[in-house]
């Protein structure tokens, strides 16, 4: 039987449609990432760690929640690798596990003020919970 690393790796590649082997290691994705300073693993590391099957390390890192989905890495990649899609697939693989929601509706009241747009709430629920 395949181990978890291999199973999730296949799933991440299928969900994201990303081919990490297209990456030429220029690092532009990480150079342009607005969350670079907050990440333990950076976008270019996501790409080569998925390629090498180092999946559980990424799944256990808070870096999966730091991506802002701004798509700067996607648009600025000279090889069309689309790192943000890879990070999204990994984050979904984490929160889809039992009891692994990163945020729930119960957390919301303490996080908002009266001006917070609905858009923020629905976006956060979609990104941080199944």
């Amino acid at each position: 039987m395949q181990n978890k690393n291999e199973l999730v790796r296949e799933q991440v590649l299928r969900m994201s449609g990303v081919n990490p082997r297209k990456c030429m290691r220029c690092g532009k994705c990480s150079a342009t990432c607005p969350s670079y300073d907050e990440m333990e693993y950076h976008p270019h590391q996501f790409v080569y760690m998925v390629e090498n099957g180092d999946i559980e390390t990424l799944m256990n890192s808070p870096s999966v929640y730091k991506c802002l989905s701004c798509f700067a890495c996607v648009d600025r990649c000279p090889r069309d690798v689309e790192p943000a899609k890879l990070i999204e697939a990994l984050r979904l693989c984490v929160i889809r596990e039992k009891d692994k929601n990163h945020m729930t509706a119960d957390d919301i009241p303490s996080l908002i003020d009266e001006d917070m747009p609905q858009q923020a709430l629905v976006s956060a629920m979609r990104k941080y919970s199944k």
């Binding site: 969900m15 607005p34 919301i108 001006d115 976006s123």
Partner: protein, 270 residues
């Protein structure tokens, strides 16, 4: 011209000005905005995973409603626009995804014809540029905003992913600057105009959102702007809450002011 209008949930609550001024300005410019009946929330962000189906059905329902009425679908909120345009592209190009979505849709009470991305999707700003034209807007301006230095904030969602959005040059956009010029004001170019405000991360890591938003408003101010205009309620929230030293307003409010329709004539008569 008649268009199907998808306002989105935030425009009905916390961002009413974005909606109201869009409608008043459209009327002044001869665009009839017909709100789609029973539209549902777009979900705020497009989830790029191909196996995420159910959360995209609300966008498909709106797209089908527009197709069946024979009109393009127009949004004003940049988040709704991003989600609906990306969903439309997925319906057009990803056969497996479209098949699954159409299977879901066939279970609806009154199922419509299968959908394959036929509807044209425009942001209100694209409509102003491509259908109305900035020359015509310039002629329609009654209160030119002469001398005002205004910074356009595009953020991410109007521009990226460019492969799908095709809104403008994603690295050197000009649409909102030309819009500001048409209203008689002077656009301010600054480096952060197409960088991220932090978005939804404000709920998970408020400090990160604050850092990103401050860099945008400080960049605009340092380059001489006296105000920032945006199309996104969350960008506006993040910029204001992080302590922008200059006002942040919706582009539709600016348009309504210049067209002389900011005050509701009916309300004045009462």
């Amino acid at each position: 011209m008649k268009v199907s209008y998808f306002p989105g949930c935030t425009l009905k609550t916390k961002a009413k000005e974005l909606d109201i001024y869009a409608r008043r300005s459209a009327e002044a410019l001869g665009i009839e905005m017909c709100e789609i009946e029973n539209w549902q929330c777009c979900g705020g962000v497009f989830v790029s995973a191909k196996d995420e189906i159910a959360s995209k059905l609300s966008s498909v329902r709106a797209l089908i409603a527009a197709r069946d009425s024979g009109t393009p679908l127009v949004t004003v909120c940049s988040a709704c626009h991003n989600v609906i345009k990306q969903t439309n592209a997925a319906m057009r190009t990803d056969e497996d995804f479209a098949k699954k979505v159409n299977l879901y849709m066939s279970q609806d009470k009154n199922p419509s014809e299968p959908y394959h991305g036929e509807t044209a999707v425009y942001h209100y700003l694209e409509l102003l540029r491509d259908t109305v034209g900035f020359d015509k807007i310039k002629e329609a301006v009654r209160n030119p905003l002469t001398g005002k230095k205004i910074a356009a904030y595009y953020g991410c969602m109007l521009l990226r992913p460019n492969k799908v959005m095709r809104f403008d040059d994603p690295e050197n956009p000009t649409l909102m600057e030309n819009f500001i010029r048409a209203l008689g004001a002077e656009p301010v170019i600054y480096p952060q105009r197409n960088e991220c405000c932090g978005g939804y991360v404000v709920l998970d890591d408020a400090e990160l959102a604050k850092k990103k938003s401050l860099s945008v408003s400080e960049g605009a101010k340092d380059h001489g702007a006296e105000m920032i205009v945006t199309a996104c309620p969350l960008c506006k929230y993040n910029l204001v809450k992080s302590g922008s030293e200059i006002p942040v307003i919706y582009f539709t409010e600016l348009l309504a002011e210049a067209l002389g329709v900011k005050e509701d004539k009916n309300a004045e008569q009462k």
